[in-house]
């Protein structure tokens, strides 16, 4: 009897395994968990549009003073593409283009922006951008540094739209374990070989939050700015009592910050000291809490200006003032007019350091909507217009934007958190591989960089290009080639999917001839059409 029951169990085992596999696959491939949010019905209120107007007027005044005519306003599809690239790191899907086209009203772009900001893809994409500014891309010290947790934490904050000053304070003054309180990875990222590099923390903090490079003052006075070595040491002393122990990042009030004097080689104690605005230091709190309060103090205009410059940079691909983290000292506003960063910074401070609001202001401004084409053919004039932001700059897409766009264009549906697990997994791993093959820019990603031959080869002949560009029933190339539509529509769909625009007459004619010459070669012709779109400058440049 006993033997029998055993047999019975054995016989059932294969069925059990099959059932398990089926349910796993079904779970993995199941689609919507939560439906992506609809675009809201109205845009922001009055103070919002006032700031937008202020930004517009700031540029218009400059243009008229310098006799510059701004480019015309771009069409909505192009703006849709810019928005998706800036906020999600990918181009819009055909599905999204159709949804946008069905929206009514003057303010549909504003509402569309809000929809993109509410999407999880925004928080995920921006958290990586900010993580690069805060801790770079390197792996850091094993065990005590968890970049993945840090990024996930940032993503949560962005999703919840935590005020930016609060976020900065958490990073600078946070306590706890790198796993449970992931913001503390900001501190542990500066650790190598069991030693916490406090100089690195100071350099990072000042660059990321105050937009100043004072790292070189670590060893000597800044060559052309007013930073002194003593400023650097005084600031670093605020990190003098932070300690990494078994229980995580902690303050140890016993600790004194000592440096070795470069001349006498003797140790001397440095007391915490800020280089300017000492009145912004609070009386109470640990040293790091004091530093955090000083960095984010409403009177410390460097904080809001640095934030504005970085957000502007992430939206346009180039910061308003480059490099993104080396800004000139703020001017006295009683003596001179506010510049762009002052205007954006002022609104930022008065509205609770709301990142999403600042993004909406920038994309609602005229500069974001200007065309990148010009009537002009004079190189000097083009340069002048570009410098004056009277022409939308051509900016090379960053590696993850290129792979994001390639992946998105290989599917007709939106690839997001609602995509099936297979699709999301593919996106995750493709991105890792592609970015490393394409050349990761690390924390330098807002600097100008030249395109390389390996990148061209990767786009033309690489595995991703081959996989995404070969017709299959699962990808857009195959599906578009198979669709029972006219060849004109087929060509239109390819262009919308890859370039977010319709083909010109000339282009339409060119490809139509190919389809007509070989009616049963639809798949190959569509593949070759896709290939040329992937490799066009229009695909890999923001324009």
């Amino acid at each position: 009897m006993k033997l029998n029951s055993h047999n019975w169990k054995l016989a059932c085992l294969p069925f059990g395994v099959v059932a398990l596999v089926i349910s796993l696959v079904a779970w993995a491939s199941s689609s919507p968990i939560n439906i992506s949010s609809k675009a809201p019905l109205t845009a922001e209120g009055k103070s919002f549009s006032q700031t937008v107007m202020q930004v517009d007027r700031f540029f218009e005044k400059q243009w008229s003073e310098n006799e510059i005519t701004p480019a015309r306003i771009s069409n909505d599809h192009l703006l849709l593409r810019r928005l998706s690239l800036a906020l999600h790191g990918t181009i819009p899907s055909l599905e999204e283009i159709r949804e946008f086209d069905s929206m009514q009203g003057e303010d549909r772009l504003e509402r569309w922006t809000q929809k993109l900001l509410a999407d999880r893809r925004f928080a995920d994409y921006f958290s990586e951008r900010l993580a690069r500014a805060y801790v770079g891309v390197s792996g850091g010290q094993f065990i005590i540094y968890r970049r993945d947790r840090f990024k996930a934490w940032l993503s949560e904050q962005l999703q919840a739209n935590t005020p930016y000053n609060e976020l900065a304070r958490e990073l600078i003054a946070g306590e706890g374990l790198w796993t449970g309180d992931p913001q503390t990875n900001y501190i542990t990222a500066a650790s190598t070989e069991g030693n916490l590099d406090r100089n690195k923390l100071t350099g990072n903090t000042v660059r990321a939050f105050l937009g100043q490079r004072i790292d070189c003052a670590q060893c000597h006075d800044h060559p052309f700015d007013h930073w002194k070595q003593s400023d650097f040491e005084g600031l670093t002393a605020y990190y003098g009592q932070v300690e990494i122990q078994v229980f995580g990042v902690r303050q140890n009030e016993e600790l004194k910050y000592e440096v070795e004097d470069r001349d006498t080689l003797e140790k001397r104690t440095v007391s915490p000291q800020v280089p300017f605005l000492p009145e912004c230091l609070p009386e109470e709190g640990t040293l790091r809490e004091k530093l955090a309060a000083w960095v984010t103090h409403p009177k410390n205009r460097r904080f809001e200006r640095a934030s504005a410059n970085r957000i502007w940079g992430l939206l346009f691909g180039v910061p308003y003032i480059a490099p993104v983290d080396d800004l000139p000292a703020p001017t006295d506003l009683s003596q001179s007019e506010p510049d762009l960063l002052d205007i954006l910074g002022d609104d930022f401070r008065k509205n609770g350091y709301d990142i999403k609001r600042m993004i909406q202001i920038i994309v609602a401004s005229k500069q974001f909507r200007l065309s990148s084409t010009s009537e002009n053919n004079e190189p000097e004039q083009i340069e002048r217009d570009t410098d004056a932001w009277a022409l939308f700059p051509l900016v090379r897409l960053r590696p993850e934007q290129v792979i994001g766009s390639m992946l998105q264009s290989s599917s007709l549906k939106t690839i997001d958190q609602n995509s099936n697990l297979f699709m999301r997994g593919r996106r995750y791993f493709s991105e890792l591989d592609f970015v490393s093959a394409y050349g990761d820019l690390g924390s330098e990603e807002l600097n100008d960089f030249p395109g390389t031959i390996p990148q061209a080869l990767l786009r033309m002949n690489g595995k991703f290009a081959k996989d995404n560009g070969s017709a299959s029933p699962l990808n857009s190339v195959g599906r578009i080639a198979q669709l029972n539509i006219s060849d004109e529509k087929r060509i239109e769909t390819c262009f919308l999917v890859c370039l977010t625009r319709l083909p010109t007459e000339l282009e339409s004619e060119h490809f139509l001839k190919q389809y007509q010459a070989e009616p049963n070669q639809s798949a190959k012709i569509t593949e070759d059409l896709f290939w040329s779109l992937y490799n066009s400058p229009e695909f890999s440049w923001n324009h």
């Binding site: 770079g136 060559p223 065309s371 083009i382 960089f449 990767l458 229009e538």
Partner: protein, 422 residues
């Protein structure tokens, strides 16, 4: 701006040339470019091959054995063709080829972390957040480019996390990466045959023209098309043959070893013949925190045949006088053997082999303490000194200053040449 007929006819013309060239010259020595073959010996333009030992090899199980001591472990030492030099007996083939090479046993670094150590040892500058320094190979390519090359000037072979980078000199000087050398030419060939490839390029020029309307000047500044053109030139270049080793005799391929590293060393020799000046071949797997001795035996079976064959070939082809070969990793390993029979990171007193390219040979620099108590080796050498030496031998002024993107003047190398090697 872009003439579609020009692009497609260029491909056809190249293809034609290829057939003609292949027909007339194929009987010549395999893999030999006529131009490269002309100049041999010391007057040839110099190349540098770096054999990168990723993870940090133990000096004690490679070039600085201390047999019979407490720190020496079970390994033995053997004599080499370099007078007075004994190395680990795991390297019998290499031992025969070391004549005219030199060994430094007193490399010192201040970076004991893989990532930071690799950055430092590959660039000669300790890593810091505001500046990304260029690797030695990128500096050489920047200062002494070879305009005859249609293939990349700076090549890194073998899969590694941190290949040589162009740093602040620019991404175009990043090493061109070949993950599986000799096996897979990867992206370097078009994915479709020529009638379709021509149609694709034709399509591309139609679509590009639309983009240029109203953006003629900006689009030109992007260099998008010229980068594609250069990539296409490379895709149809004869010089790509240097990357393919199937025409090498089987005995040669066998001698190097059929591993990514062995094939990489063989390709490296072919690249030198082609006129590539900066080559890196990576061998990972040296991070022996546990089971150090067996690990080093496994590694030696990859390194010994490849390294020795490379030196032998370079010598027999009269190329060693114009090729500097450097074998080094990010640090060494502790004299102390840990509880897992492993050795941990040791950035003070580790070893490298360097030579060729007119460097003085048969020199042994430095000495480590056989008891392992004294951390500091005799005659310590820092990597920037070694790089200054190499740059000087390449007739590149290592004191020349370049301006980094943040406006800071930086010397090509902050070291001073090692007199014993010059």
């Amino acid at each position: 701006m872009i003439d579609s007929t020009f692009l497609s006819s260029k491909i056809n013309r190249r293809d034609l040339c290829k057939v003609a060239l292949g027909g007339s010259l194929s009987f010549m020595l395999p893999g030999f470019d006529l131009k490269a073959a002309q100049k041999r010996g010391p007057e040839r333009k110099k190349s540098v091959i770096i054999l990168w030992m990723g993870g940090g090899p133990s000096q004690l199980e490679t070039w600085d054995p201390h047999p019979g001591t407490k720190i020496g472990g079970p390994g033995k030492a053997m004599k080499t063709a370099l007078p007075g030099l004994q190395i680990s007996d795991m390297y019998p083939l290499l031992a025969e080829q070391l004549e005219s090479m030199s060994v430094i046993r007193s490399m010192v670094s201040k970076e004991g972390d893989h990532e930071r150590g690799t950055k430092y040892l590959k660039t000669g500058y300790r890593p810091e957040p505001t500046t990304v320094y260029p690797a030695l190979g990128a500096i050489i390519t920047h200062e002494a480019p070879n305009s005859d090359l249609e293939i990349p000037q700076h090549i890194s072979m073998g899969n590694i996390q941190q290949p040589a980078r162009g740093g602040y000199l620019g991404g175009h000087l990043d090493a061109f990466r070949i993950n599986d050398p000799g096996k897979n030419i990867g992206n370097m060939r078009a994915s479709v045959k020529s009638p379709r490839q021509n149609r694709r390029l034709d399509n591309l020029s139609v679509v590009s023209q639309t983009f240029q309307k109203g953006r003629a000047i900006q689009a030109q500044k992007t260099l998008h098309q010229s980068t594609i053109d250069r990539a296409l030139t490379m895709m149809s270049s004869e010089q790509l043959n240097a990357l393919e080793i199937d025409k090498e005799p089987e005995s040669v391929r066998k001698a190097y070893g059929d591993s990514p590293f062995g094939r990489g060393c063989l390709v490296a020799r072919r690249l030198v013949e082609q006129g590539v000046h900066s080559i890196e071949v990576n061998l990972n797997g040296w991070d022996s925190h546990a089971n150090n001795f067996n690990g080093h035996i496994t590694q030696s079976k990859l390194l010994d045949p490849a390294f020795s064959s490379l030196l032998k070939d370079l010598k027999s082809r009269d190329l060693l006088d114009s090729t500097i070969v450097l074998c080094i990793g990010e640090f060494g390993r502790t004299p102390k053997i840990n509880g897992l029979d492993g050795r941990d990171h040791w950035p003070t007193g580790f070893s490298c082999i360097v030579g060729g390219g007119g460097l003085k040979g048969n020199v042994i620099i430095g000495e480590t303490d056989p008891t392992g108590k004294e951390k500091k080796p005799k005659d310590p050498v820092e990597i920037q000194d070694l790089y200054a030496t190499i740059l000087q031998k390449l007739n590149i002024d290592y004191t020349k200053e370049l301006i980094s993107p943040i406006g800071r003047p930086l010397k090509l190398s902050e070291g001073t040449p090692i007199q014993k090697l010059i």
